[in-house]
């Protein structure tokens, strides 16, 4: 089933960490397996990277903590080696870290180099985007990663009921469009031509960390934008090129977009005001962050909508 949510403030930054937590928690019943956030803080000259070094539910053998510590040091060492000036490296969990650093080179060699460390997965990389995802419900994840004070302009989130792949962080949404900076996707649905698109994108040199069909949407859109298309045009093409049922949300450094498949098979409720746009699989999620009475509507099939912050 899964639940997705998005919010974009048009009048400057808001409390997106707390807001997204409330939106996702009110839809916990749609997906209790894992929760994920893609949050856009104030853009900075520094790059911000979120990584995980292990999964919380994997067997913790002898020396688990020491191994993670060693891998953490290896990440820091490799950042220095590739020419990045590390600003702050901070761990919310012993298996999940947030690093800010100064770096002017290509992102792909850097991300590839990091993922070469055993167990390491780069969850997000960009000047503004931060992806936080873990097992359990939204409030638990927000508490673990201290998201309540996170301010920014826009965010998307996802509560997952795993149907197509494992319950772990790699299978949790949102997905970063590796290796394109500041692009992320959440998805409710199933793609039936996943393997075809995965092979196509792999031939272009992209890597996929999970077995989850949603991961290709992020890379697919980012690749199209890299080829010169606008976000909206790339999304419109996806309606014809991606098979299956889907409602997905995509975020870039300054935009939030939504697309629905040609059968309108997955729900989405939309609220639009001059100050903000909020959208979610259920209206209760929108009402969780808006205090007054609201009017909402459901976009129709094959609709593509994009808002700027």
């Amino acid at each position: 089933m899964c639940g997705i949510a998005g919010i974009i403030h048009r009048d400057g930054p808001g409390d997106i960490g707390a807001e997204m937590t409330r939106m996702l928690q009110s839809m916990k019943h749609r997906g209790p397996d894992s929760s994920g956030f893609a949050l856009y803080g104030p853009p900075s000259d520094l790059l911000v990277m979120r990584i995980k070094l292990a999964d919380p539910n994997e067997a913790r053998g002898f020396g688990w903590s020491e191994r993670l510590e060693r891998h953490r040091n290896e990440v820091e060492h490799r950042l220095a080696k590739i020419g990045a000036m590390v600003d702050v490296m901070h761990g919310d969990q012993e298996y999940a870290y947030r690093v800010t650093f100064r770096y002017s080179g290509e992102l792909k060699p850097l991300a590839d180099y990091m993922e070469d460390v055993p167990g390491c997965e780069v969850l997000s990389l960009g000047h503004s985007l931060e992806i936080v995802k873990d097992l359990n419900d939204a409030e638990s994840v927000a508490e673990q990663y201290r998201l309540s004070g996170f301010t920014g302009t826009h965010a998307i989130g996802h509560v997952r009921m795993a149907t197509e792949s494992d319950v772990d962080i790699s299978g949790a949404h949102p997905y970063w469009a590796y290796p394109f900076s500041d692009i992320a996707v959440v998805h409710n649905g199933q793609l039936t031509n996943y393997h075809m698109w995965r092979r196509r994108l792999e031939r272009l040199g992209h890597r996929f960390q999970s077995e989850c069909d949603s991961e290709i949407i992020a890379v697919y859109l980012a690749q199209k934008m890299d080829d010169g298309l606008s976000l909206e045009t790339a999304m419109k093409q996806s309606l014809d090129e991606l098979d299956g049922v889907f409602t997905y949300l995509v975020v870039t450094e300054d935009s939030l977009g939504v697309a629905k498949d040609e059968m309108a098979a997955k729900p989405l409720v939309l609220y639009e005001s001059p100050e903000l746009v909020a959208l979610a699989s259920e209206e209760v999620a929108i009402r969780a962050v808006i205090g007054h009475e609201i009017d909402t509507y459901d976009p129709y099939e094959r609709e593509v909508l994009v808002w700027q912050r």
Binding site: K28, A264, E282, V284, R287, Y297, D298, Y300
Partner: protein, 260 residues
């Protein structure tokens, strides 16, 4: 503040009616009002059932429903219910008898499998409006989503605005009246019944054909729209089943291809 509320209303097997409604006597019997803001789905439904079944209240008003799911379901008695606000998914399903007025919007699958009565929605409605409807009127003054009246077996669905794709999918009996435009695949695989459209039709579904309106159609449309005070469009088009799919076997590959 943690959200502990479960929007489905499950996991409360021992819940009891909260007895928070104020009940007064009105012109047509007892009148009750209660605020649902702090109640769970199950508590709201239990309170509603207590009022209608135990207290014999004729008119109930529910304030602040907050788009919760599955409210006002399974009411099998004549009564009047006003919901001041919006409902989530599966609202007013499996009812037989009540007249329900919703001042906000509703999510997917409103009035699913309704047997009789009236549900009037002042704003928009999601997909699957009146799914498997058996009788009564479902009136939406705003727009509706996709697949309105899927598998409808009776009754009437009236839409003041536009409708999405596959409207009247597998319609078996009953009527749909759409004052605005409709999306693609109108009346796909319908068996019987009629769909009236006032606006543009994107495309017809398999085995749906246009028919001439006669005097009884005009009378029906004028009467139904009059009851609910919905403005009629300039002209109507009527769509019915082409009956090509009623019978076919291996000797009729063209007809088989239509559906496969």
């Amino acid at each position: 503040m943690r959200i502990s509320y479960d929007a489905r209303g499950l996991a409360e097997p021992v819940a009891q009616a909260p007895r928070v409604a104020t009940v007064e006597s009105g012109e047509n019997g007892l009148v009750a009002v209660f605020d649902a803001a702090e109640l769970t789905t199950r508590q709201i439904n239990l309170e509603l059932r207590r009022l209608v079944y135990d207290e014999g209240v004729a008119e109930v008003t529910i304030r602040n429903p907050g788009a919760k799911h599955s409210l006002a379901v399974g009411i099998l008695a004549r009564c009047r219910i006003t919901i001041e606000g919006s409902l989530g998914y599966f609202g007013c399903g499996l009812i037989d008898g009540p007249e329900i007025h919703i001042t906000g919007r509703v999510g997917w699958s409103v009035a699913e499998n309704m047997m009789s009565g009236v549900v009037v929605i002042d704003k928009n409605s999601g997909s699957l409006t009146g799914a498997a409807l058996r009788g009564g009127d479902v009136v939406v003054r705003g727009d509706v989503g996709a697949r309105s009246g899927i598998d409808q077996k009776g009754g009437t669905i009236l839409v003041g605005g536009n409708a999405g794709m596959m409207t009247g999918f597998m319609l078996q009996r009953g009527r749909q009246v759409i004052c605005g435009n409709v999306g693609g695949g109108l009346g796909d695989s319908m068996y019987d019944g009629a769909i009236y459209v006032g606006g543009k039709v994107t495309s017809l579904g398999v085995d749906c054909v246009e028919a001439e309106l006669d005097a009884s159609d005009d009378e029906f449309l004028a009467r139904k729209l009059g009851i609910y005070g919905i403005e009629a469009p300039a002209s109507w088009r009527k769509f019915v089943c082409g009956r090509k799919l009623w019978n076919y076997d291996n000797l009729e590959p063209a007809e088989r291809k239509l559906v496969l």
